[in-house]
Symmetry: C3
Subunit: 281 residues, 3 copies
Amino acid sequence: MALRNLRRLQQLNIAYFKQYSSVSKLVSLTVDDKTGVSVLSLQRPPVNSLNLELLSDIHNALTEAEKNKSRGVILTSQKDGVFSAGLDIMEMYKPDQDRIKTFWTTLQDCWIKLYGCLYPTVAVINGHSPAGGCLLAMSCEYRIMQTNYTIGLNETLLGIVAPPWFISTMKNLIGHRESELALTQGKLFTSDEALKIGLVDEIMHSKDEGIKKANAFMAKFAKISPITRSLTKQSVRGPTIQDMIKNRQADLEHFLQFTNNPQVQQSLGMYLEMLKKKGGK
Amino acid sequence: MALRNLRRLQQLNIAYFKQYSSVSKLVSLTVDDKTGVSVLSLQRPPVNSLNLELLSDIHNALTEAEKNKSRGVILTSQKDGVFSAGLDIMEMYKPDQDRIKTFWTTLQDCWIKLYGCLYPTVAVINGHSPAGGCLLAMSCEYRIMQTNYTIGLNETLLGIVAPPWFISTMKNLIGHRESELALTQGKLFTSDEALKIGLVDEIMHSKDEGIKKANAFMAKFAKISPITRSLTKQSVRGPTIQDMIKNRQADLEHFLQFTNNPQVQQSLGMYLEMLKKKGGK
Amino acid sequence: MALRNLRRLQQLNIAYFKQYSSVSKLVSLTVDDKTGVSVLSLQRPPVNSLNLELLSDIHNALTEAEKNKSRGVILTSQKDGVFSAGLDIMEMYKPDQDRIKTFWTTLQDCWIKLYGCLYPTVAVINGHSPAGGCLLAMSCEYRIMQTNYTIGLNETLLGIVAPPWFISTMKNLIGHRESELALTQGKLFTSDEALKIGLVDEIMHSKDEGIKKANAFMAKFAKISPITRSLTKQSVRGPTIQDMIKNRQADLEHFLQFTNNPQVQQSLGMYLEMLKKKGGK
């Protein structure tokens, strides 16, 4: 039965990737003909919650940017205010068991792709960026963040334990000490706080300014062989990625065990009820 | 014979833990009914040297704090002036072979417990904190240190090589570079120097002020599920602890080989003679 | 055949080490009788390119300093202007297959020796220090750099991927984040920039001033047992060295595959042609 499930999962996987093999309405990918740099915009209103379809689309857009030989990719939100609110809780609440497996493996694939992708990547963070949104931003090579928003792996605050590869991504960026403090508190940093500890690299006052700064970062690689650059990046980030790949099955099982826990389901239900009352999604 | 020794060691272990299964006169554990936070005070005059009994008592008090559901533990010295002078040299000088094994495994157990314990921990360092004292402080999650005292892993200065897990604990806190500089020099940092490199987090001018600051740190977890928090902490610190556990037998043997070296015994003898002449313990 | 090649390589290795078993004209090793500290000067004009002979000589001089019981070694360039230009490209261009193997294993040996050597080491960087020159400097325990020169692992800029142990050496010094930024850009830092991120520890305005500062660093170990110090250093740096030793055969094969690639040979040819036209070596 395990084998049959696996096959069904694979078929499902293939189906999803076929379905979203071209860039879809949940993201847009626009190449700047002058610079050769692509802008990948998240556009799943209202808050770019990362559901299966959005994650697939990000994955496919990152692949598309390889194929169209983009010189780099700028990841941003189509709409100011929220970069991404993180994983879509609807994927975890009373989930279909096949879909939730595909959801998590797609998140894993998306991170592997983004964290290891060949071209330079910059996050232009034009809004709040908690949890999974922070993971996406941290997985880029450079971060420019708009003032008056917050960023952080605040999973703890939501009763969720950030997976080990979320933690490794943060440790690589801000070190062991700051990661422990941030993660145990589920801390959301203001842009200034984030700048101070190196969670972001620059501050912007508008998305336009951010895109300009992102292009200035990309320009630093103008005289560098893209192949050499990407092999060097893989050599720096490789151990973290290999470690995740080695443990990805256990990571999936851990996630399924967590979400299928009745108490967790009850908490998610109450949380969603509260969101509804607030008038949000 | 090895087996017989092992059994004897285990019996000894059990005996010690029974003997100190309740919190003893070498430490006190006081719960603040208003905050739910416990204060664990070291009170082995004159300098809180870490002998087998004190280490057992710390271990037991940390377990007791789990049982009484403390919201956190503040580790401090009952008397201003010395937080802890580190390992008691008397445990290493002409040692009984059974006792010295229990001594070292109890130190290992104590670190495993403190470094991985479920509730938040803060060291209120109201005096000097060299060697093993520094290890205890570094193993907490947050450090507040009184001005005009010193802290550091100064083992090198005493002719001792800090064990790998002392080194890992320091690397996790202040990084590889600063750890190498500190360890090769056996450097003792003033509180201001320690603050600058992140070896401590805050400065205090009195123990009362330190306790207040420690409680302010604890309060940051007020809205966080203790289970989620502790699993997150374990995920961050887990690899370091697992690495130590994997190597603890080799670590014990290494320590025994070192202390049973005749030259080391001679040095310890001269050192103790010098201390006696000085009028200290 | 593989075995025959290995034997030939070993014989060649032995021959080389015999040939340079005493300190040669490519380096000088001078012990200061007052301080007991040796100065190891690189003197292969014009730019101390690291060819097989220079690397062997450095290796032998480091061994010689052990034998003559130097209290420490200061690594510097005999002539101001260039500390070392890095690996000699002539070793990689149309190479003899036996020699290039010996070249790379000698570089590996030289790093293992320098990174793990028992006495304290200081680089007095009295000139530019790119690529392999930066590796040598980073492998010392302390770095003092003259103003108006540059330092960095700029391999990427030259179309070369820095080997994993170059990257580990840098990560240990300046952390994961700064290393990634520096390596993907092939960045050369001014002395002030290098000071800011911790790639060097102090600035000097002349070699004399640098030697004085280096001796001041050495003096910090005056009261420390050399054996304890060296065991502590090995405990801090050991994991990085062991990791390299475990992978050194794969590292050699990777280097040979890279240099024997026809496109790489063509690039090296064009680069050397350009250097000739410039009038440099």
